[in-house]
């Protein structure tokens, strides 16, 4: 049996509990195993971001527990959690993921530097990663000199850098044209297949959903369906 990466139990999130409560996520169970390639779909406001943030330890659930690779992250102190994220979770956000003053190479290397990886080893890894996302010739470009799609690919390379257990991507293609979106998804799918990287990404783009092997659908903060599919 494959290893469990995400195990979320009875997770709920209520915003503004004292004034006008918003039940963004309600009693959700999610179980994801190593090597899965999962899309979290649903209309805008259905709770995708909120759920992803809680699974990545960026936000605390009002109720429920989240285990990542067997560690109950909902119990960790703030500093431990930051450290846990550094070593175990890769993030790709919707846009402006990168530090604008650093080059692509430096952005990817930043995470490794936070982990105190020695310079030569770091440089090698950064180059390999940027090559993998097809940006070998852009290593010295700053984010402002890259297209949106290229920036997102650098963000994926950065998320990969620390060899995380999982990469969480919140609408990574939302600001991309369809060609760049397809390209990014192809790279993610390739990394998933070749490197066994587990991906959980949210989207409401049909063309992106098609690429997933499992689709969890959220409606009004609740899981409506959770199905396997053959990517096309």
């Amino acid at each position: 049996m494959a290893k469990t990466i995400i195990d979320a139990h009875n997770v709920s999130k209520t915003f503004n509990p004292k004034t006008i409560p918003v039940h963004a996520v309600q009693d959700v169970h999610v179980h994801i195993e190593e090597g899965e390639f999962v899309a979290l779909v649903g209309p805008s406001g259905s709770g995708k971001s909120t759920l992803l943030n809680m699974m990545g330890g960026l936000d605390e659930p009002t109720e429920g527990t989240v285990f990542i690779d067997g560690v109950e992250i909902t119990k960790l102190s703030e500093n431990k959690l930051i450290d846990f994220r550094l070593h175990n979770i890769g993030f790709v956000f919707q846009s402006f993921n990168l530090i604008p003053v650093l080059t692509a190479k430096e952005n990817v290397g930043f995470v490794l530097q936070l982990q105190n990886m020695p310079k030569t080893e770091r440089e090698k890894r950064v180059l390999a990663l940027l090559e993998e996302v097809g940006l070998k010739d852009k290593i010295n470009s700053r984010p402002g000199e890259l297209s949106g799609g290229q920036q997102q690919r650098v963000a994926v390379a950065r998320a990969l850098a620390s060899k995380p257990k999982i990469i969480l991507a919140d609408e990574p293609t939302a600001n991309l044209d369809s060609k760049s979106a397809a390209n990014l998804l192809d790279i993610m799918a390739k990394l998933n297949k070749e490197e066994k990287i587990t991906f959980l990404f949210s989207t409401h783009d049909q063309r992106v959903i098609r690429k997933a092997r499992r689709v969890i659908t959220l409606v009004d903060g609740k899981i409506e369906s959770d199905v396997e599919q053959t990517p096309s």
Binding site: N53, L58, I82, I99, V101, L102, F110, V111, L114, S162
Partner: protein
């Protein structure tokens, strides 16, 4: 890496960084020039005053200061002179025999201060001979003549070449009496001296008082920049401390020290206000830097950067901006100060007269004491560190999700 990141960050908004650094530049420049000017004026004033009076330091027989009598004198000692001159900061030493006497001319009598001096050594230090307004200056240690303060002479209604009779107490309760030709009249800025002083060649004075070879004090003149406390301490150790006491002008003329202290307080307040104003500018810039970069800071926390480390980067940014202004300010300040050390300001008109009336050189010198520059750097460094605490605190409180969504 963090240094590089901080450095790149401060140049994201070039204009703002330059404006902020420029404000620090002007504050530091003004503070330095101002401090250098006021310190220079004080130093000059002290130098002038002590050269007529106590010297920077004075050596007495132990106990003299509390009981200033001719019986508390000590024998002139070459070894003491050598010991003092061994210190490179010591520029001159002036042996003196200082007593009180009754002076009379015709039907007038007055208590006077009799300063037995070495006229050659004295004039090297304070150009006493240039202050002669009538007659001539005494020439040697045994010239049989005296020079009087102009004020004293007019009180006694006495002129050059008249004969002054002095009556005082000699060594070991002997009586001291002598007649001297008045060789010159001298105009001194300090009224105390001008109205009371009789300068007498030291050997004549010793002879008159039956105190051959005895001195009440040796005054020590120093380089303006000397660290007085340190030198006093080292002298206390190097000369026989059982026999002598070493006193600084601050102890002998506490009023002048207090005046300078009080006067400086006003200057500190002005400089304080200056720094207070630039603190606002720097603080605003730092707040903007956090505010504008919230999204990015949120991402950095999300991908695993500790908040403390992030706060440290902001601290570096704050220090970099202010040091940029500080260092250029110091260089600018040094240039201005250097300029005025090479070309000091010569006062003219009324101000020149006021200065000269007080016996102070009518030239404004600037102090280029390194202490001034070090102090400004420290102030700016401390300010920028303190000011970085608030943005640091903001970072510590940052919630990654909220920050990323902003």
């Amino acid at each position: 890496m963090l240094l590089k990141l901080a450095w790149l960050n401060i140049w994201r908004n070039k204009r703002r960084t330059i404006i902020t650094a420029t404000s620090v530049f002007f504050a530091v420049l003004l503070a330095i020039v101002f401090r250098s000017l006021t310190d220079g004026v004080y130093d000059n004033m002290i130098h002038n005053v002590v050269s007529y009076s106590s010297g920077y330091l004075q050596i007495h027989k132990k106990g003299y200061w509390d009981e200033q009598s001719i019986d508390n004198t000590f024998e002139e000692d070459d070894k003491l002179h050598q010991e003092l001159l061994k210190n490179p900061e010591v520029t001159h030493i002036m042996p003196r025999l200082q007593t009180f006497a009754l002076a009379s001319w015709a039907d007038k009598t007055k208590g006077v201060l009799v300063l037995g001096i070495d006229p050659i050594k004295e004039r090297e230090v304070n150009n006493l001979h240039e202050k002669i307004v009538d007659g001539e200056y005494i020439e040697s240690v045994n010239d049989n003549a005296v020079v009087l303060g102009e004020g004293l002479a007019s009180q006694l209604k006495l002129k050059v070449n008249d004969t002054l009779v002095l009556l005082g107490q000699g060594y070991h309760a002997s009586s001291a009496a002598a007649k001297f030709r008045v060789k010159g009249l001298i105009k001194l800025g300090a009224l105390e001296l001008n109205n009371n002083v009789v300068y007498m060649p030291i050997q004549q004075s010793q002879y008159m008082h039956g105190a051959e070879n005895r001195l009440t004090s040796v005054s020590v003149m120093l380089d303006k920049a000397t660290n007085l406390k340190k030198l006093k301490h080292s002298l206390q150790g190097s000369i026989a401390s059982e026999a002598y006491e070493v006193m600084s002008w601050k102890e002998m003329m506490p009023e002048m020290d207090q005046f300078i202290e009080a006067d400086s307080t006003g200057h500190y307040i002005i400089i304080g206000i200056l720094y207070f104003i630039i603190s606002f500018g720097l603080f605003g810039t730092l707040l903007m830097m956090v505010f504008e970069r919230k999204h990015e800071l949120g991402i950095l926390i999300a991908i695993g950067m500790k908040k403390r480390l992030l706060a440290f980067v902001l601290l570096l940014e704050s220090i970099m901006i202010s040091l940029l202004g500080c260092f250029t300010g110091i260089i600018g300040g040094m240039l201005v100060v250097k300029w005025f050390t090479v070309y000091p300001i010569h006062l003219t008109g009324d101000l020149k007269e006021v200065y000269e009336d007080y016996g102070i050189e009518s030239i404004i010198y600037f102090s280029s004491h390194e202490k001034i520059f070090i102090t400004q750097t420290l102030i700016v460094l401390i300010l920028s560190t303190l000011l970085a605490f608030y943005p640091g605190y903001k970072v510590m409180k940052l919630k990654p999700v909220e920050a990323i969504n902003s």
